[in-house]
């Protein structure tokens, strides 16, 4: 069974540009999470989808970040316009059943560098 995949693995963009990160969770997983790790700091929660619905987006930094999960399958996280402080590693994770404490399986992350 394929694990969580993320695309791209690296992205380097200039301040003001737009970037879209993609996450493909493990097939059939209801829960999809986005996290971010800024250099030297701890991983921080961004948001949680249950199927196609946003269950908790309290960790989203501001309205430059937009996440979607089409049909409850893959998810995208768009940053528009990107700022320097958005640089970091963005992780996606999925877990099987909605509203349970199943193990979260993490993707390899997308390293975003904003110049």
């Amino acid at each position: 069974e394929a694990g969580v995949t993320q695309f791209p693995s690296h992205s380097v963009i200039e301040k003001g540009q737009t970037v879209t990160l993609r996450c493909d969770p493990i097939s059939g997983h209801d829960n999809l999470y986005w996290y971010r790790r800024v250099m030297g700091k701890e991983i921080k929660f961004l948001l949680h989808f249950v199927k196609e619905s946003k269950q908790d987006e309290s960790g989203m930094p501001n309205n430059r970040f937009l996440a979607e999960r089409t049909g409850g399958t893959y998810s995208t996280l768009k940053v528009q316009p990107a700022e320097l402080e958005d640089s970091g590693v963005y992780f996606c994770a999925s877990s099987p059943k909605a509203f349970s404490t199943d193990t979260q399986y993490f993707g390899p992350g997308t390293r975003l560098t904003v110049l």
């Binding site: 969580v4 996290y35 701890e42 929660f45 949680h48 992780f91 979260q104 390899p108 992350g109």
Partner: protein, 110 residues
């Protein structure tokens, strides 16, 4: 705001030595998880502790959850070079969010 303080941030020891990594908080968590992360990969779950005072063992790794469910420790006995990596603790908050420690970068020298 719930925080998890993880220490030490960096540890370099010789093969065969023992070590302990700590995660401490003033908040209560419903569970606490320990992960290991390799370069270029995402965190991989090692263990989840749920009950106050719980101890779990994974070969040479011993994980303990504090009685009050506010702190946890990871003890490695007779460390091996293969144990080298980034170890992360994460507490589960009531809304299913994970609150993360900053990580411990562990290097075991042969």
């Amino acid at each position: 705001t719930q925080l998890l303080e993880q220490s030490p941030q960096f540890l370099s020891i010789q093969e065969g030595e023992n070590l302990t990594v700590y995660c401490n908080s003033s908040s209560v968590f419903s569970s606490l998880q320990w992960y290991r992360q390799e370069p270029g990969e995402g965190p991989v779950l090692l263990v989840t502790v749920v009950t106050g005072g719980e101890v779990k063992k994974l070969k040479r790794l011993t994980f303990q959850f504090g009685d009050a469910r506010k702190d946890s420790s990871l003890h490695i006995t007779a460390a091996q070079p293969g144990d080298t990596g980034l170890y992360l603790c994460a507490g589960e908050a009531s809304n299913y969010q994970l609150i993360w420690g900053a990580g411990t970068k562990l290097i075991i020298k042969p």
